[in-house]
Subunit: 296 residues, 2 copies
């Protein structure tokens, strides 16, 4: 399959214009969505959309209970799906929760969510990745700028930009507790990252550039062109963001942690192929390529 | 001299109520300030005050030129006043700029600033510390919660809470580029930090607690009681904050760096004594105890 979005293959930085629609709904279906026309336009233009109070207080409470009870279930378990703090046994993330918890399987198939993502992706969908993030207060670290699609394309073999992330906030997101920052409009540009240099070339290079992350000049260009958005909202809010939207987060020294449930929906017409890096695929719990129950 | 605010001397955390006024203006002078009644009340209640557009665009431009030219002057100089990046020669901070630059000496004596700080401190004042901070984009690290007074008291021998910091923004402060976060009202409480434990005690301690920083429970108590404020504003804004106001900042992965000029004014009635830690005083360029030109 032709690589439409090459990255980490060259020593040159390049910016490739998006070659895919943002909203994939079929002709004639453009306005048949549970989202309003304004919401669809905002997603189209910005590459993300915040839906405040999407889940009720009671639902948030139940989800919060379930994520703590899941952490409890995994307490003494060693499994790759569970990622712990480097310096303690505290759980940071649990992957594949839609497979290993009947409760979160139901959440992943929530009709209100599916109505939206079916429309945005213009097809039936499946869950490419799901995880719970337990972000602690005081010690939460920054997460550098990235486009998820760049990673999913290079490392997982996702062919096209036809996936959407759904992040359900299970605690309040303020501007100060390390919230997600997004660059509105960045989804229209694929920032091709530089690849690992042969040793000689690396030594010759005047300017050090990290491998596999967007370069400073491209980030400056994006941020100056589009600015930076920091959507905030109470627990129960849902943030939809397009797979190529550039995002990252600063650290969090406040006492206020942030838990969220994160699910990536991919179009059944965009199933994973061999990774474009040529390397072995990452494990199934990070990127689904075998078990693909279609969610309608 | 009796230690009214003991810290780092015990293995117990404690919260000591403030024993000093917030605004020290003499009786009858309370309303004789260039600040409005509302501004004074806000400073009294919150422990900080943001003054937007305090300096004109032309003044900001000149200050910015001066800070870059000062960095240039120090380019190949090894002196303790100049703090560089751990991994490069880039300058992070230059201390004692009011002594080593006639330009910044004039800024420190700016009548508009002195009118305010003289009133807040109820006396003549001197510059206890001055520095320029060059905070880069992309790699700016977090600065954990602290009360400056706790450090100045323990390490520098500042007897009472009668000092004020003036931070002049030389670039725009947004919510997302690692701005200062403050806990409004925290200046009313002295969070006494735990001291370095004897090795045995440390091993017995169930809960690890870092030495000389506020503990998590006190920080949770403060943040839940008072919330967190993030004053933002364009270059040229001035932030006044009381020496005991709890503050810190998250990291900054955005391309937008933050430069500021930071000056600490202390009351001439609050001159430094021997450090309350019993250790040797820190160097003169961090805490003035010899050269104390009174600024009126």
């Amino acid at each position: 399959m032709k690589d439409l979005y090459p990255s980490r293959k060259s020593q040159e930085v390049s910016i490739i214009p998006r070659k895919d629609p943002v909203i994939h709904a079929e002709k004639g279906q453009e306005n048949h969505s549970s989202l309003s026309k304004e919401q669809l336009e905002s997603y189209q233009q910005n590459g993300f959309l915040m839906l405040e109070n999407f889940f009720s207080e009671a639902e948030v409470k139940q989800m919060s209970n379930e994520i703590y009870s899941l952490a409890d279930d995994y307490k003494n378990t060693e499994t790759p799906e569970v990622v712990r703090e480097p310096t303690s046994d505290e759980i940071r993330s649990i992957f594949a929760v839609h497979e290993n918890s009947s409760y979160f399987d139901k959440v992943a198939a929530d009709k209100r969510i599916l109505d939206i993502v079916n429309h945005l992706l213009g097809s039936e969908v499946y869950v490419n990745q799901s995880r719970i993030n337990y972000k602690p207060g005081f010690t939460g670290k920054e997460f550098y700028w990235h486009s998820d699609f760049e990673t999913w394309h290079v490392e997982d073999g996702m062919p096209r930009m036809r996936a959407v992330s759904v992040s359900i906030a299970l605690s309040d997101n303020h501007t100060y507790n390390g919230p997600l920052m997004l660059i509105p409009g960045s989804h229209q540009h694929f920032i091709s990252c530089v690849g690992e240099a042969p040793e000689n070339h690396y030594k010759q290079s005047l300017k050090m550039q990290e491998f596999g992350v967007p370069d400073h000049d491209s980030m400056r260009w994006l941020a100056n062109k589009y600015g930076i958005s920091v959507p905030t909202g109470p627990a129960g809010s849902v943030l939809l963001f397009e797979c190529n939207t550039m995002h990252g987060s600063n650290s969090n020294i406040t006492p206020f942690g942030r838990n969220n449930l994160f699910m990536v929906y991919n179009s059944v017409k965009n199933r994973l192929v061999e990774p474009f890096s040529g390397a072995d695929p990452r494990p199934e719990f990070i990127a689904a390529r075998k078990k693909l129950p279609v969610l309608g």
